[in-house]
């Protein structure tokens, strides 16, 4: 059996194993969506997010609402409707 096939097999196997591991971390959109909802604003799904700076995002929800989500100087997460 050629070594190339064995290597390919191992690669595919590793690819299959890393899927669930990567899937556990929430995406930025999911994180922003949960944050927006936690702060009392409606957002069914974040369809677009733009990173403005560290811990500073502009999120666009599926319903068209846009929010500025950032961490202020005191360490609080602030969500402002744009």
């Amino acid at each position: 059996m050629p070594a190339r096939s064995i290597l390919g097999l191992c690669g595919l196997t590793l690819l299959g194993l890393t899927g669930p591991v990567l899937a556990q971390a929430p995406s930025t959109g999911a994180d922003l969506k949960a944050t927006i909802a936690l702060n009392g604003f409606p957002c069914d799904q974040v369809v677009d997010s733009k990173r403005n700076a560290d811990s500073d995002y502009t999120a666009t929800c599926k319903d068209g609402n846009r929010y500025h989500v950032y961490v202020d100087a005191t360490g609080r997460v602030v969500v402002k409707k744009l």
């Binding site: 096939s5 097999l9 595919l12 929430p26 995406s27 949960a34 944050t35």
Partner: protein, 238 residues
């Protein structure tokens, strides 16, 4: 002749790799905690253990009008995951820090909280005096906090938002214990239930074990928050 074998082996390995534990498929319809079942986390107190007895002796206090909303909210907050008897009693009365302090003095004596299931609890209660049988398992607040920090079920922004809200609530409890707050214990209970529901909702998809542990610790955490000595012991400072 070797090629079919190689292909079969490759297929088996790929199938085995794909047969992982899918976290998203077991959430719907799975209650994080059933009232009669012990919590999955060994370090957390069981929900059924504390459900029969509320941390506050509110049964003797009359339910007055202004606290109607608090009483209404606490019941749905308990939902399918919370003990039934626990959330209906304590938030339903207007309580000042002074009256609460006098009530809490009676709580440890009159609240037999048992960590074991009902059948075992009855047997244990028959064997032991009530005061001996009422020793709850220790609440692992640090462990819970660390698990919340470490979980990958929620993102950083979400964790920080939750931390902000937890800090806000703790500040309100601190003011309540110092007698500087106009908030009643029922209102605090309402806020506490709401926050806990948010946490459990966020966790139940990605980390059901932790969601169950948090839900199971509901009454134990509440007992810490409402007891001035225990609250001071957790070392919260604004």
């Amino acid at each position: 002749m070797r090629r079919p074998y190689v292909g079969a082996i490759a297929l088996i390995i790929l199938l085995a790799a794909c047969a992982h534990d899918s976290r998203g498929s077991r959430v719907v319809g799975e209650p994080p905690v059933t009232p009669g079942a012990p919590a999955p986390a060994a370090t957390e107190p069981g929900p059924a253990a504390e459900s029969p007895v509320a941390p506050q002796p509110a049964a003797s206090a009359p339910v007055t009008g202004p606290e109607g909303p608090a009483a209404n909210v606490s019941a749905p907050a308990a939902g399918p995951t919370a003990p039934v008897a626990s959330s209906t009693s304590s938030p339903s009365r207007p309580e000042t820090p002074k009256s609460r302090a006098s009530n809490q003095a009676a709580v440890p004596k009159s609240a037999p909280v048992s960590p074991v299931p009902a059948t075992a609890a009855t047997a244990a209660a028959a064997a032991l005096p009530p005061s001996k049988a009422a020793t709850p398992p220790p609440l692992d607040l640090k462990g819970l906090e660390q698990r919340l920090r470490d979980t990958r079920a929620i993102g950083l922004f979400t964790k920080l938002s939750l931390k902000n809200q937890v800090d806000d609530l703790l500040a309100q409890f601190k003011a309540f214990h110092q007698g500087q707050s106009g908030v009643t214990l029922g209102q605090l209970r309402q806020k506490y239930e709401l926050l806990l529901m948010k946490v459990v909702t966020l966790l139940q998809d990605g980390d059901p074990a932790l969601a169950s542990a948090v839900s199971s610790s509901r009454e134990a955490i509440w007992a810490v928050l409402t007891n001035p000595q225990k609250f001071a012991a957790i070392g919260y400072s604004t």
